[in-house]
């Protein structure tokens, strides 16, 4: 019915497949059993603290490193054994990688276009990335943001099905970062799957459809940004200034309470919807008025700290 031969069904929608990936350096495991699948057309985030094994994981996907164990497939191909074919469907923007200092933007685009049988036309690409005015500028003379935009252009020039963007916005100012985010949404809108490596929560929360939180070489959690926030303890935060002091014992007895804090007469409680309901009941029963009552959802930041704390324990 769906038109795909049965044998390809498993791969039909997955562009990247990583299972039980392991890689050690000098006996120290850096990637320790990472598994995830990236679906066609999604922006998939790989989030984690520095040194968590994010870059090593994507380097195995890009074919730059040979895994010690596990299986990596890009559009069903092995990045090591089928390197040339993988390089044709995968565009990569690497962390800390430059170009020849005296190579101009236009020459770089021309050169990298020549590596592909059917390259994208670099003119609209340069236009979209705001590089049209910089075509004759040498790489060394470009600003940080311009260099990053050129790297995105080089990753896209082979008209890939998937791009891997590693720490793309590190070192950019807030304005340039926001521009880059729009660009990534734009890339996906053009049907390209995006694998985004980052340690910025805001970036992951805004852009990603799903996120794998990697910590100490393992996947600590894999979910949508909203799902990650929901599953963390203390996802809902309620704060207020009570008109009269509340009994600490009553507060501590609240259901699903994750944390409690007092500051300048203001009470901040983290928990779930259940905690919120119970607080309101408690306030009514004690005849206490809650001034400046605020109920907020925790951010991905909170969820992330919570998740990476769990694996540390």
């Amino acid at each position: 019915m769906c038109g795909h031969p049965p044998s390809r069904d498993a791969d039909a929608m997955s562009v990247i497949e990583v299972s039980e990936l392991r890689k050690s350096y000098g006996g120290r495991p850096v990637v320790d059993g990472v598994s995830f699948t990236v679906q066609e057309g999604e922006i998939f985030g790989v989030l984690g603290p520095n040194g968590a094994g994010k870059t090593t994981t994507v380097e195995c996907i890009e074919g730059l490193r040979v895994p010690d164990a596990g299986r990596v497939r890009v559009t069903g191909l092995d990045p090591i054994a089928d390197h040339a074919r993988v390089a044709r469907v995968l565009g990569a923007q690497l962390q800390q990688s430059e170009l020849q200092a005296k190579l101009t933007v236009r020459e770089a685009l021309d050169l990298y276009a020549s590596f592909h049988a059917r390259p994208a036309d670099w003119r609209p690409l340069a236009e979209r990335l705001g590089l049209t005015g910089k075509l004759t500028t040498r790489f060394a003379k470009l600003s940080g943001g311009q260099k990053q935009r050129l790297f995105i252009a080089l990753a896209l020039i082979g008209d890939p099905r998937v791009v891997v963007l590693d720490e793309l916005t590190t070192g950019l100012d807030p304005r340039a970062r926001r521009d880059t985010w729009e660009l990534i949404e734009d890339i996906r809108a053009n049907g390209v799957t995006v694998l985004l490596v980052t340690h910025f929560m805001e970036e992951a929360q805004r852009l990603c459809d799903r996120i794998a939180v990697i910590d100490k070489g393992r996947v600590a959690a894999l979910d949508t940004p909203a799902g990650l926030i929901r599953r963390s303890a203390g996802a809902t935060v309620i704060s207020f200034t009570p008109s009269a002091p509340l009994d600490d014992r009553d507060l501590n007895a609240l259901p699903a309470l994750a944390s409690i804090a007092h500051k300048d007469g203001r009470v901040t409680l983290a928990g779930t919807d259940e905690t919120v309901n119970a607080v309101i009941t408690l306030l009514a029963r004690s005849h206490v008025t809650a001034h400046q009552l605020r109920v907020t959802e925790a951010t991905l930041d909170d969820a992330f700290l919570d998740l990476t704390k769990e694996t540390a324990a």
Partner: protein, 257 residues
């Protein structure tokens, strides 16, 4: 069959594009252009401007000082290119992740290595031709009497200097180290080539030792071919052995990142 052929053609196209880019970039390096292409000939012109260097010397077997410095100038361009310029560039490419970036594209990073060797080998040969031409036109230095033997010796000398440069690139983790090793090897190499004392004037034992080094053997081979003699199996053997050994070492130790 046809796809394999297309694959081959595509690869050749990519490699040619990489080479064109590297040639273009080389032309943008005034330092490299000067030291590799012009400096050896300039040195020859300065030496040739000293009147006494244009008189036949009994010590040199009736040759003039300027005559024995032409092969030194030829080797100088080759040593600067192969030993100093190329390792700096290659190590820089590795250090700044240029090789890594290329490894994520369908082109193999070895294309960049080959292009670099072609650029610096070609520049060294051009420098040699310039030195020979200026020597002939300005100072009446006779062109090699055995052009085929001379060309063979020259090509082997270029290969050995590129192989030595590749070993320096393989052993250097940073451009600073490449610069230091390049300089450390540069002076002995130039001594062997005869920059301070032409090989003909060296004491016997020293000449024999120098004859076993890549550039000492190259200098002697060039001298013999210039005089019209067969370059000799010994010199040929020494050059080939060094080239093969150094290439194997470079292939074994070279790291893409």
């Amino acid at each position: 069959m046809t796809t394999a052929l297309m694959e081959d053609q595509r690869r050749q196209g990519m490699n040619a594009a990489v080479l064109r880019t590297e040639i273009r970039l080389f032309r943008r390096e005034p330092g490299a252009l000067f030291w590799i292409l012009l400096f050896p000939t300039l040195l020859l012109v300065i030496l040739g401007s000293v009147p006494s260097f244009r008189h036949a010397e009994a010590d040199l077997g009736g040759l003039r000082t300027i005559d024995v410095y032409v092969p030194v100038a030829v080797l100088l361009g080759l040593i600067v290119g192969g030993l100093q310029a190329m390792p700096q560039t290659l190590t820089g490419y590795r250090e700044r992740g240029i090789l890594r970036r290329m490894a994520t594209t369908p082109v193999r990073p070895s294309a960049l290595l080959t292009a670099q060797m072609t650029v610096f080998g070609g520049a060294a040969l051009a420098s040699a031709v310039l030195a020979l031409t200026v020597g002939r036109l300005a100072f009446d230095v006779r062109l090699p009497k055995q052009p085929a033997g001379y060309l063979l010796a020259l090509v082997l000398a270029v290969l050995v200097s590129l192989a030595l440069g590749a070993v320096v690139s393989a052993l250097s983790r940073t451009t600073k180290i490449a610069g230091a090793i390049g300089s450390a090897v540069f002076f002995p190499a130039m001594f062997c080539a005869g920059l301070w004392a032409p090989v003909q004037t060296m004491p016997d034992v020293l000449a024999r030792i120098v004859g076993c080094t890549p550039f000492g053997a190259a200098a002697e081979a060039l001298n013999r071919a210039a005089a019209g003699d067969w370059i000799g199996w010994t010199h040929l053997g020494v050059l080939v052995a060094w080239t093969v050994g150094l290439t194997a070492a470079a292939a074994r130790w070279f790291r893409w990142e």
